[in-house]
């Protein structure tokens, strides 16, 4: 297996170099020095700042500099703050929302999908799928705005129950339910519709396979067929979906973070893009690209673990 992992890593190095090259080209289309300086910048100041930031160096030198993974470089927009500190400070709040939300969503969506597939074509299946489609049809922003208004504000104002924060974030396990649970529930609610429909279609597809017919012919009960034979084989697409989501977890959820005032990665990255904060954008994208490649490799490894037909050689 380790040989396989090493080979996949090697194969992906050119892909990674290409991504970084494209990223650097995209970020240098417009001169970033203008964005960095204030409204009264002079031509002389622009030259000085380009030299200070290394933008006057040969492209190859800049390219190698990005590939050195030196995150101790300072943010431009947040002077005195290293990119590594920004990463450290924002990963926690982001994962505090996205990780529980993914876990909760996956558990609920897979459960509903199994129920739907079990009662395929019957009213309960149809009702669940209609609800899933309705859920999918509403914008994430609407869930957030109404969730915040009803779930936090009205509950507090009219019900006198200060159960969820309207906004803010404080570290500490004890603070988690107050600051994070509502965003987690909103995020889960939004994602359930999409995931349920996907997992149900996976289950339904599996239910038509020959091995299911064989299992039924051999006298296996419907539950055994569903939970032992079918679920195990449905794990491949389930793993694929969950694993491809993992890199995005670290990037946080911009809308949730903005509306709930959570200092997570999504917000940091969005602000960095708005402010043309080069070191932050470059660092985040280099990390994201690496995570994406690693999660793909990890997905392949997990295939081997759950499916004996897959050989990692």
């Amino acid at each position: 297996m380790w040989t396989y992992v090493a080979r996949k890593l090697l194969y992906n190095i050119p892909v990674y170099l290409g991504i970084i090259l494209l990223l650097m080209l995209a970020l240098r289309v417009n001169d970033p020095a203008y964005a960095f300086l204030g409204k009264n910048a002079t031509a002389e100041d622009l030259l000085d700042i380009r030299a200070k930031l290394g933008l006057d160096q040969h492209f190859l030198v800049q390219y190698l500099s990005v590939l050195s993974f030196d995150f101790s470089v300072e943010s431009w927009a947040n002077e005195g703050l290293k990119v590594s500190d920004m990463l450290r400070n924002s990963v926690g709040p982001s994962l505090a929302i996205t990780l529980p939300a993914l876990t909760l969503t996956s558990i609920i969506a897979i459960s509903i999908a199994i129920i739907s597939a079990y009662f395929r074509g019957r009213p309960i299946d149809r009702t669940l799928m209609v609800l899933a489609v309705v859920g999918m049809s509403v914008s994430f922003l609407v869930y957030i705005i109404f969730g915040q208004y009803w779930g936090a504000y009205l509950l507090q104002r009219d019900g006198g129950i200060d159960a969820f924060a309207i906004g803010g974030y404080e570290p500490g396990l004890a603070n988690w339910p107050y600051y994070c649970l509502l965003p987690v529930l909103i995020s889960t609610f939004v994602a359930i519709g999409y995931d349920t429909r996907f997992y149900r279609s996976v289950m339904v597809e599996e239910s038509g396979r020959d091995y299911i017919t064989t299992a039924v012919a051999k006298g296996a009960g419907k539950r055994k067929v569903m939970f032992v034979h079918m679920l195990k084989n449905a794990m491949i697409p389930i793993i694929t979906r969950i694993m491809t989501t993992l890199p995005f977890l670290i990037m946080g959820s911009l809308l949730l973070e903005v509306y709930f005032n959570i200092p997570g990665m999504g917000r940091v990255l969005y602000k960095a893009i708005q402010e043309q904060d080069f070191p932050v954008i470059q660092s985040f994208v280099t990390i994201f690209a690496a995570l994406f490649i690693l999660s793909n490799i990890l997905t392949d490894v997990l295939y081997g673990l759950v499916d004996p037909r897959v050989r990692l050689s």
Binding site: N30, D31, Y34, A35, L37, G38, K39, N40, A41, T42, A43, D45, L46, D48, I49, K52, A77, N78, E79, G80, L81, N89, V91, G92, L95, A96, L99, P100, T103, Q148, Y149, A152, Y153, Q156, R157, I166, G167, G168, Y169, E170, P171, G172, L173, N175, W176, V258, Y259, F260, N261, I262, P263, R267, V268, K271, Q274, E275, Q276, L302, L305, V306
Partner: protein, 599 residues
């Protein structure tokens, strides 16, 4: 089996690690009975707390709590009047208006910080003032504020050039003729010529006094670890980027007291009752940053912010549009309304170097005059600003000398006057807009910018002029304007200090892009007048020259305008001594909180 459990075990370990590791820190806390003042910033927050690196109003809001200037604006008397802050009295000024001598207060201490011997803040002295001003000239720091003192202090421009020639050899101890610490408590500034705005500049946060030890020890980290003489202190960990900043009462703050000067209106509101109270009054300040208005508004409505601003979408919920008064149920809750007029210049500018819309020939002027006459700013005000803006002629905002009486000038090409616009457009060589290519109109992406562009396109469409919108994020907008790419553009300029000269400088030729003259307007006669007013004290004669300069702009139309916004502040019943302004930001030190009234 073991393999199958691995992902779940990993996930659980990760979760536990997060809970135990990342969430181990305790949240900010204040002692029992301590007074805490919590208020919002409608942005992601400041960029830097190093005064010479800061430039935005958000930098100002935070810096003004920890740093102090030689001078400050009077809190209750709102006529742009300055008073001493770090100096004993207003400076003595030589007869020719070029030599300013400041006597500093004795016993003013910097915040306790490890940068000082034994961690105890030392006394601020004249050398600190000189050092802090010299930092503005240090290009290595990335200062954004040189323009404030350019061509002002005798020998300072030459000193700057010499020190920056070889950056590594920058010597703060090298003498500068016009900037001298005469003795431990006396600072003398000698100017090249009288500069009226000089004292205003010394009240701006960019010229705050900082200790050399901290700036040198912390380097760029000084941006996040402020050490000043101000009423509040802030630790590095108190700033959670894009979320919040916490400030704590400075235990070594000297005896400074609530002002004993006020207006009759202040007396009516009981703002005089705190006179003589030692500052700061509250123990802790938290600034919460909001990119979206809804959470700010809901937090204010649940009493978790001590004051708030009314977002445009909540205006009708809280205010009566006709009378511009607070609705009854808000008043019954004890909420108070505080309209804050801004020194604002909202405009639509032309690049005067552009081949089509720029230029100074009669035809070119007529094209811009026609466009100006086709635009109805009242409709913009009614539609997008709840009719709260003041529409005015000229670039000088209401309340400042040089602003036209009744906000109106008979020299202005103020619209809507479609017939005259059509006539001028024809005289410019474009009858009914024929032969005129669509004009590229650059503006920043904001809540309703697309709709504003649509309205402008419709209004200009009445005379046959077409516009093509280019919506950009603010930094990109400024970049396009700085590169002189934008034919026509729009944003707002907030005055740096309460003097029309600041706005007239926007059209001074040598300030062309990437300087503050974004219009690249060049009129030698105008420039001469600007150079004259720069050194004139406020007087009717100076105001008359302001008017002449404004008339030139109204005739040449390098911009279409103008509007000034009013910000709607609401105070909770428990916030006391509340008289908000956006012209200066050190006023939280005067605020008191009646904790017993909080819900």
């Amino acid at each position: 089996m073991i393999q199958r459990r691995t992902p779940a075990a990993l996930l659980a370990a990760l979760l536990l690690g997060l809970l135990a590791g990342c969430w181990a820190e305790a949240g900010p806390a204040t002692a029992d009975g301590a007074k805490s003042f919590v208020f919002p910033i409608r942005s992601a927050g400041p960029g830097s707390l190093d005064p010479v690196r800061g430039s935005t109003t958000y930098d100002n809001q935070a810096c003004s709590l920890v740093y102090e200037n030689l001078l400050q604006y009077k809190y209750l008397v709102r006529e742009g009047q300055l008073e001493p802050l770090l100096c004993k009295a207003m400076p003595t000024v030589s007869d020719d208006g070029t030599v300013y001598t400041f006597e500093l207060k004795e016993g003013v201490l910097f915040h306790d910080d490890p940068c000082f011997e034994g961690g105890k803040g030392r006394e601020m002295v004249a050398e600190d003032v000189v050092y802090s001003i010299k930092r503005i000239a240090d290009k290595r720091i990335g200062t954004k504020n040189w323009w404030l003192l350019e061509q002002t202090i005798l020998g300072f421009d030459e000193w700057r050039d010499a020190q920056n020639e070889d950056g590594d050899a920058f010597d703060y101890d090298a003498p500068c003729e016009g900037l001298v610490a005469v003795d431990r408590y006396t600072v003398r500034f000698t100017l090249k010529e009288p500069v009226t705005r000089f004292l205003n500049v010394l009240a701006m946060f960019q010229t705050s006094v900082v200790p050399r030890e901290a700036a040198e020890m912390y380097g760029t980290r000084f941006s996040r670890r402020p050490v000043g003489t101000g009423p509040f202190t802030m630790r590095e960990e108190d700033w959670l980027t894009s979320k919040s900043l916490d400030f704590h009462r400075n235990p070594t703050y000297r005896d400074e007291f609530y002002p004993d000067e006020w207006t009759p209106e202040d007396e009516e509101r009981g703002l005089h009752l705190a006179a003589g109270q030692k500052l700061p009054i509250v123990d802790h300040i938290r600034i919460n940053c909001f990119v979206q208005d809804q959470p700010m508004w809901l937090l204010f409505r649940t009493g978790k912010l001590d004051y708030g601003q009314i977002p445009a979408e909540n205006y009708l919920e809280s205010m009566r549009k006709r009378t511009k008064t607070l609705k009854k149920h808000y008043r019954e809750e004890g909420i108070t309304y505080h309209p804050v007029p801004l020194l604002d210049f909202i405009f639509r500018g032309f690049n005067m170097e552009d081949e089509v819309v720029g230029g100074y020939t009669p035809e070119k002027k007529k094209l811009r005059q026609a466009i100006s006459l086709a635009i109805d700013l009242k409709e913009f005000n009614d539609t997008f600003y709840n009719s709260q803006n003041i529409v005015y002629d000229g670039p000088i905002p209401p309340g400042l000398a040089g602003h036209p009486v009744g906000h109106f000038s008979d020299k202005a090409y103020r619209g809507p006057n479609i017939e005259r616009a059509k006539q001028l457009l024809a005289e410019a060589g474009y009858p009914n807009g024929e032969g005129l290519e669509p004009i590229d109109y650059y503006t920043s992406i904001s809540a309703n910018s697309s709709e504003q562009v649509e309205m402008m396109a419709r209004q200009l469409g009445k005379i046959g002029v077409k516009v093509q919108s280019v919506l950009l994020e603010f930094p990109q907008l400024i970049e396009a304007i700085n590169k002189k790419k934008a034919q026509m553009f729009s944003f707002a300029w907030g005055s740096d200090y309460p003097d029309g000269e600041n706005n007239l400088a926007l059209f001074y030729g040598p300030n062309e892009s990437p300087g503050s003259n974004h219009y690249n307007y060049k009129n030698p006669e105008y420039d001469k007048l600007y150079e004259k007013i720069r050194s004139m004290q406020p007087s009717e004669e100076r105001t008359e020259i302001y008017r002449q300069m404004v008339d030139m702009l109204l005739e040449d139309v390098p911009y279409i305008g103008s509007m000034a916004r009013t910000r709607n502040y609401l105070g909770t019943p428990w916030v006391k001594n509340f008289k908000p302004t956006e012209n200066f930001w050190n006023w939280p030190k005067y605020i008191d909180i009646d904790e017993s009234l909080r819900n």
